[in-house]
Symmetry: D3
Subunit: 328 residues, 6 copies
């Protein structure tokens, strides 16, 4: 057979496959595996990544649909080794399934595909942790509903990091990005008292939504309260309260929880929010908890980013969560 | 009654109403009237402006939904007097109806509202010319269908300035922004031979679409051909061919017909396109023609603009069309 | 009478008037009233907003003249309900008077108009709190002089949040934006010992200005000192010191007090400054104090903004102040 | 004497002085001389450059005050050799006098300084050609008035390249940037019939200004007309008409004559304007004419530039003019 | 075997392989093949694409090293069908070899790899046309030297589209991006009289370089001359003059030949240059000529781009060249 | 002798020389002296500034070569008086030597010049503190080697503020910007145990580098640890540990130690880093220590900056260091 005559070239877009001669300075894109020509052995994987590029369901115009590709591009500059915690993520096996297909004009159809993608994940490799990259927050309703469909007897709790309650009325807006928690409560997928929302701030929640939250028994901690008590404590308490009552805690991270200085790319970014190192700390703690079995990162519009500040924060958020996961 | 004590202040957001002491250096926003508290006498108006802020139906992510407001903001710096043609647009009476309401997640519902807005315009003040500001190109199908619904016996022709055929298959994409001409042909609203598309360029039309266009009898002139023959001649010929065969010519201007240098804000902007002065010339000629009875301007995403270059070009396009209209 | 035929349209630029069916999720622009066709009953209002779009008086080039419109645009995305404090600003009645008219080339004339606008406010509705949106810091001298003209027997104190002393010499620069505090001291409108300046930082105050400040008895706290002692304590102490000695405390907020990371749009933005949540805290405390009877926000050039980070911080600053005001 | 020990260093900010070992690839900043410690022999110089950083007199906010420094920075990347014309500008001796001092708040005072700078130039080295870099267009009135003051018996003509008439009323606006030609006519410095304005376009001149222009006998050619007839011919005809009637032709170039695509940094930039190569051609022809004895370049706000596109066009405009000058 | 359970997902980064069910609306990245796991049969391919991401050899700082990836990303939005010419590029078989490996600090070593990549291409599949994507212009010297090394008996001509002569002295600068043509002449790889340079403009070539060009017998046409005579004619004449004298014509396209308005991303972009449609026309004509056997596109720094204007122009340039190639 | 006729002008680019009538509000560029026509008396100076515009040695593309000029431009807006510490830097005499000459293509040669510049400084005015402005981090190896060459018997310690270890292998990369500390250790210029690195964070150091660091005895404190213990304490402890063991402490500041929010212009900027006020505090403490005898600031690419946020932080860093120095 002919020898490959180009020792001086890098091949373009070469699919990486984990090799025996794994180098130490593994980059994230070399570590996370992609689906190739043949069906992988799903049992090998600890975590599956799912891109959910839907943002047509956003109340304000959003290109959060471009976030999954933006994060995949950005993580090429991250390594797998976390010096602060002395943990190498490369001990985990992670596979990236790609993106849920999107219909151009039928949002309901797309929502159905998202739910079915979660059902398929829970059916075909139920031991792996699904990590979904939005897209806007409407996808969380479908992903949690998918989980419930696959595990009808489980009690689900939600740990939400968000500027907003996301309790707006789906009867008015349809299944839009301001409504997922209300959808889940009204469809009885999740009980209000099993929702813990941390980081709400500013002038962005109507009073009627607070009333709804109170009536539904939702737990919430504003950013100001959270900073006074310490983010770590607040997260730990929320997890402690949930762990006895639910089977599964679903962690949803709306990137607009970040201060506009740290996450300018969130369509609803505003001053007075969380700092990125606080967010990293929060998700790392959540990652350590054995009942946190799914995570998503939503509402980041890369076109609004300043440089790649917000997208890098999103990647770091994902890696901090996985750092916690390694500690389980 | 108390005297107003603030001679040194400008009032904010004051609704302008045409006054007897009309100053000569009228700005466009002082000239175009808005709907106020009471129902206006529709018979007074030559032209109605309609904002159609829908871009969820776009194949690629688009904030063309923000174009109507962006144009309204930009035209505050334009006057009504066209020095080159010595025509003052202030001789026309123009009313801005505002925007078609948008559903957050139900595109089909929004499309229906758009069509009904056209029906209402044709019913309540059929002598005024509707000038619609998109939004993406999917709105053209609904606006023309609305026209047809209001005037079922009219034969409609289309003069299209566009980089694309817009003949993609609605069965696959739904009523998306690549499909309006095909929708109109398949619904028998417009016959293919009464469509004249001018300015197609680049590598952005699949060969099968050309085949479809040929089979449907669509007339098209690529940008390269148009520049060789002169834009003015090409437009004049198209109008001449249409005028004997149709009752109404609908002019649709996809801003991506512009070269990326002149209209960077079109989501599909590309080099090799039309120059802004060519576009102004083209629509001015169309504006002069008595059978051109409706116009739209679509597919301009202000978030992609460089400064306000493209939005200003869109405003100038509208004003050039109205300059022609004054010549009727 | 004819029915309005457009149920499917939003009217453009409709003047909002407070209605009986006030919805809970009131946006700030729906809450703040504008001056309409008839003279309002001034006694109804708690707060008047005044735009002062002057920045020709700036030492470095500034488009702070565009700030009032930028803030009005930005507050459309803010609601009236402050979740953290469980206070709904909608309990206040606020009217926006519009902007002080600007002469193109005669800065002295414009300054006179600004002063007279304050005199008119204090004469026609003295119980309302004037909240002025600059423009540059030169306007503060005129606004305070206007106050003094209307209330010649009052002793006025100043609570200033600023990177600079603003004690440069008006004999050299004219009434420019580096000079307002010195103007007020030299015109004996305010005594130096009743000025408290908090947040000075960096290498931006000449030593001679410190000497002047010391000789004039001005109280000042650098950013570094303020952070060590806690912003809240520093503000509370300043208010406590002033409250026994003056009749009125004028709060002036130079947005360049913010760190360049939080307020990049200030022409003199620099690292080492205040964080936005510290500023919000500071003005909220000031807002609670019954002797704080006027406020301004100055030196924010929206053209220098990164996204709308700084303009949103300015709006939040205004709303935090009003949150405090609701507590009185 | 000690030897300089740093052969491996470039000295910072070294004043360049024309040396015997002049290298061929002279950059513009190495060629144009600056004023040093001692008074130069003015008789040596063909051209003097004068920076006039005034833009507080602009109707809309402008940082055209930063243009002189921006052009000086940009011309560091230009050489002195014009390949197309085979002319090396280094044959001219050019000195940069620096900038007219600016008062922070007294525009009238600054205008007086500008006028006196021109008087001084005409008094101390009347054979050199003054080339002034604005600043906004208000400076042209003062520069021409300065010329008239120095040469009271000369008849002055104006060749203006501009989007606007600049005939707005100084009684209303003061000596602002929309008024210079009217100021010159009303002060009888220049007669209307000796003004030739080329390149007007768009919707930016009120009809009353056209009436004023017609009554004053001003010659004008819109951009559309100019392009039809050819820019070169139009310029040559204007010069031919002026040369018999006036002693001095003052060339004023308002950069907003450029299409927004070629000169986005002009505060009033708009589509439909002149292309940069047309402008270069126009000023080169003007530069060749022996009666063109002064030039200015105004209304370019570097903060609005896209990259350095407009500033580079301004430098090229200056160098094209000087290329023509070499042909005299 | 297990079925793939994710019909609702797109796989990430799937390597595309030409399939029997080729759809008509093929995108460029679906058409151009990549090197996979096994050695391809080189004889199948008409054209090979080679990325040469070297820009450390640039005189001014440049990120032209990022151009190959930027072009690969941008061509995902281009189709293969050229409507204007009714030619579908999909009739060609094209393979993308990837990028020449880069040493971080040893530019000489990298240059050697570039030359060897060309030698390998000419040795292993000499019938395919190499199309190299720079990188800066220094790579052209190495690519042409590689060609000469592989075909020592061939006479090579160069058709250069460029703002500059690229005749600066490698003895002073080393093998930098201002020197390639001089390197090739001094190494006797190419004779000066077989170099045709078209599009030179502005003040960017020292007079001594013109002297060198004249003495070396280089043919050159400035942009102004080229536009007067018509770009097509100028290119055709250059090809006609070369075709009898040389065996191979190497086409090198320095993107700085474009006007700054059309190609702002070239580090040396300047007004007065070529328009993109002129460049497309030029390379298409060159592509038709059977003796044009290699092409490169250099000096485009994507970080300087405005949107993706320049990168899209580069892709269009490549596709226009291939359109011409299809006509052979 | 003739009088200078231009009292109304500022001279351009006038070299500033310290005069007897020194004004109090001295700007930094008026205080720092430049090298003029004659050789200065080196003994007068406390500090020498050296620009080292090399970034071709960077692993990722970088325009850090433009940092020295960017800092010189930015410090024109800084004064010399530090209000917080009541210290006026003008008590120091500082001279700016300009920049090390750069070879376009021979990085090794440039590195040699950098080393020789340090040798010359240590030979000709050994009592002044060299403050070098990079350029990328590769220059630190050469500067420290130059120090060692001039003072072969000194023991050198390094205080490093950095996101990275900079221990990558020069055998693979050459003397690139990831390698300087390893170069110094392998050349036995500095012992590993005398290196203190503070501020490492994120996923940007391969595990093998940590192993290397541990084996070499390098002291390091991650950002998370540093913030827990307080930056001041960490710096003080590092200095305390070094002061007994070494003769000279070289302070190297890699600007990528800053959080991406505070220093977006570092090519490797990332969330989770140091805040600017922490960095200012750190270098001020280092500046106070008598054994800190040299400083550099590296890896800041002004083209990546957002506004001038990062460049201003770099200037402030330099001035904070000098503030500490005044305390010695």
């Amino acid at each position: 057979m002919m020898r490959y005559p180009y020792p001086m070239l890098d091949k373009p877009n070469r699919i990486w496959s984990r090799q025996t001669d794994q180098k130490e300075d593994l980059k994230v894109h070399e570590w996370i595996e992609n689906v190739g020509e043949s069906v992988p052995d799903w049992r090998d994987y600890d975590v599956t990544i799912l891109g959910v590029p839907l943002s047509k369901s956003s109340i304000s115009t959003s290109a959060a649909s471009e976030n999954p590709e933006a994060m995949r591009e950005a993580w090429k500059s991250f390594g797998t080794y976390n010096l602060d915690e002395d943990i190498d993520l490369a001990q985990l096996k992670v596979i990236d399934l790609g993106n849920v297909k999107q219909h151009v004009t039928d949002i309901e159809y797309t929502h159905k595909q998202i739910q079915e993608a979660m059902v398929a994940m829970r059916t075909h490799h139920p031991h792996t942790l699904p990590l979904s990259l939005g897209g806007d927050h409407s996808i969380t309703a479908k992903l949690v509903e998918g989980w419930k469909q696959a595990h009808p007897n489980e009690t689900i709790g939600i740990l939400q990091l968000d500027t907003h309650f996301d309790l707006r009325d789906p009867n008015t807006l349809g299944p839009a990005n301001g409504t997922p928690i209300r959808q889940l409560i009204e469809s009885e997928t999740v009980q209000g008292e099993y929702v813990h929302n941390i980081g709400l701030h500013g002038f962005f929640n109507a009073k009627e939504l607070k009333t709804y939250a109170d009536e539904a028994g939702i737990h919430y901690t504003t950013m100001k309260q959270a900073r006074k008590r310490g983010i770590s404590s607040v997260i730990e308490e929320a997890l402690a309260q949930l762990e006895d009552k639910v089977d599964t805690i679903y962690l949803t991270t709306d990137m607009d929880v970040l201060d506009i200085v740290h996450g300018p790319a969130a369509p609803a970014a505003t001053p007075g929010g969380m700092y990125s190192e606080e967010l990293f700390e929060a998700v790392q703690i959540a990652g350590e908890h054995p009942k946190v079995k799914a995570m998503d990162i939503v509402c980041l519009d890369p076109r609004k980013d300043v440089g790649t500040k917000s997208v890098k924060a999103a990647v770091h958020t994902m890696l901090s969560f996985l750092t916690g996961y390694c500690r389980r």
